[in-house]
């Protein structure tokens, strides 16, 4: 099992979700986050004082899938989230030690 963490632009979330649904993904968690990569922030102005906003709003998706699905999921997310402009985000793949379905107590890939 692998965990896929993807940080994408908030307005791409719906398209990513729809694309993953076509892959019959069994679950997904989404959090609202702030961050920056090489993009850096932008300047805003409030009552005459300029200030830099370093952190930009992003959305983080987390999903755990069987090893065989990883490649397909990563490229699906990548295609759906891409705009071609800086700040499109990143995808990380991490190993997962254990998964448990709380309702039934199932463990391992059956719990996904």
């Amino acid at each position: 099992m692998k965990k896929i963490e993807a940080i994408v632009k908030p307005f791409r979330l719906e398209d990513v979700k729809d694309a993953l649904a076509r892959l019959s993904i069994t679950g997904l968690t989404v959090t609202e986050v702030k961050g920056f990569g090489r993009q850096k922030g932008h300047k805003e102005i409030y009552r005459g004082a300029e200030y830099v906003v370093d952190f930009l709003p992003k959305v983080k998706l987390e999903l755990v899938v069987d090893d065989e699905k990883v490649g397909q999921v990563v490229s699906t997310i990548g295609q759906a989230a891409k705009t071609g402009k800086i700040g499109d985000g990143k995808i990380f793949v991490l190993p997962v030690e254990e998964a448990v379905r709380i309702r039934t107590g199932e463990r391992g890939p059956e719990a996904l």
Binding site: E44, I45, Y46, R47, G48, A49, E50, Y51, V52, V53
Partner: protein, 444 residues
């Protein structure tokens, strides 16, 4: 007797007595009295409807201040606004009204009418309607200060200030300009001072006390960088701020026209002047912010509308609509420049209260002399300037002394830890947005 006779007899008796109870034929005198009574009733209705509109301005101030400050201090802002009205009502009932409108032998303060003693049940209730209209004005002046002192003032100390402003500072100056509206008579109005609805009496008094508070408090943590540059501390909710401004604009239709305390045709041009000044103020402030900062900025545009409203408050009765446009325009430009000016002096005014109410209140008072429909007169303008300066000395001076004393005794400002945690938590043990994760825009 049989029922057939009793019932008709009863009916006839009732009809005859009802006919006998008719009023006598109207005379000219009784007609005149009736017409006067209807006018009097209309005066009551208009005055009290206007009072209700001005009361609702408290919600306007609460929303503007909340929107322009950070989420972690929202409860504190609301508590101050709630108490400004509540404590203010009680203070003005007990002491303030008497000082402001009581009988006076000196022309400097009143000495009768405390605890609404002028009213006896069954007596003439006009004093009640008049008091109701005046108390909402007192509360307006008091709550202006809350914005200038936002995000770092001890709540208990603020309560103390609120009591003092509504029992002493506001009413005594008010007696000089408006005492004659009731039982009193002030020296300033005796000189012909024009301030129809209170650019000076209400707004400048509030604005200059707010300046005193901001000066004694010092700027918020993080407002100025080490080299003295002003940093942005963005308000957390522009929609609330805008809602607040619209509520204030609406309430001002009670504030200005209501000051006739009479139902007459004059309220029509007061309405129009009020609206034109507000509109022009917001447009000009938007334009100035656009030119200076490169983009039309919401907070300055909102301040501009308020600046126009404050400025037209004194001259609303005695200027033409075209003049109202000019007065509003100047106010819109003035407020933006004034905000930047005070910021450069390292006086931190989170909502621009000093610029909107103090500076534009002074401008509006001057404008009442400059644009007077009765013609330009240097002596009239001179009295306006006298009133403006006197107000500054009184309000800023007394405010400064009061805040200094409070600071030296019970303390005026919260500790740095309390300020960083947010006053909602440290002063009130709560959070305005418990269901949301609140984080402020942090800066270097």
């Amino acid at each position: 007797m049989s029922k057939k006779i009793v019932l008709p007899l009863i009916l006839i008796a009732l009809t005859v007595t009802a006919a006998g109870a008719e009023t006598e034929a109207p005379t000219t005198a009784s007609n005149l009295a009736a017409i006067e009574l209807v006018q009097s009733h209309a005066d009551y209705v208009w005055t009290l409807v206007a009072a209700a509109l001005v009361f609702f301005m408290q919600a306007g101030f609460a929303m503007v201040e909340t929107g322009f400050t950070r989420a972690k201090n929202a409860i504190n802002i609301l508590m101050k606004n709630l108490m400004d009205f509540s404590v203010g009502s009680l203070g003005f009932w007990a002491v303030g009204f008497g000082l402001m409108f009581g009988a006076t032998s000196t022309g400097w303060f009143g000495t009768s009418g405390f605890f609404l003693s002028d009213y006896v049940p069954g007596g003439d209730p006009w004093v009640l309607a008049f008091w109701m209209f005046q108390v909402v004005f007192c509360a307006t002046a008091a709550t202006i200060v809350s914005g200038a002192m936002a995000e770092r003032t001890k709540f208990s100390s603020y309560l103390l200030y609120s009591l003092i402003v509504s029992t002493v500072i506001y009413p005594i100056f008010g007696s000089w300009a408006w005492g004659g509206l009731y039982n009193g008579g002030g020296w300033l109005e005796g000189l012909g001072f024009i301030d129809f609805a209170g650019s000076t009496v209400v707004h400048s008094v509030g604005g200059w006390i707010g300046l005193a508070g901001a000066v004694v408090l010092g700027p918020r943590l993080g407002k100025y960088s080490a080299d003295g540059q002003a940093r942005a501390i963005p308000g957390h909710n522009p929609p609330l701020a805008a809602l607040g401004v619209f509520i204030l604009w609406l309430g001002w239709f009670g504030f200005n026209p209501g000051s006739t305390t009479a139902a007459n045709k004059e309220i029509s041009w007061i309405f129009v002047n009020t609206n034109l000044a507000a509109a022009t103020g917001s447009v000009l402030a938007m334009i100035v912010s656009w030119l200076k900062f490169g983009k039309p900025e919401i907070s300055m545009s909102l301040n501009g509308a308020l600046a126009g409203l404050v400025a037209i408050t004194a001259p609303c009765y005695n200027v033409t609509p075209a003049s109202a446009v000019i007065i509003g325009a100047v106010a819109g430009v003035l407020v933006v420049l004034s905000v930047l000016f005070f910021e450069r002096l390292r006086i931190d005014d989170p909502v621009g209260a000093v610029s909107v109410h103090g500076v534009c209140g002074a401008w509006g008072t001057l404008a009442a002399g400059l644009f007077n429909v009765e013609g330009f007169s240097l002596s009239v303008v001179g009295v306006q300037i006298l009133g403006i300066v006197t107000c500054f000395i009184w309000a800023f001076g007394l405010g400064f002394i009061m805040f200094k004393i409070i600071d030296k005794t019970v303390g005026l400002r919260v500790s740095p830890e309390e300020e960083s945690d947010g006053l909602d938590f440290s002063e009130h043990g709560g959070s305005a947005y418990p269901d949301f994760q609140v984080s402020a825009y942090a800066q270097k």
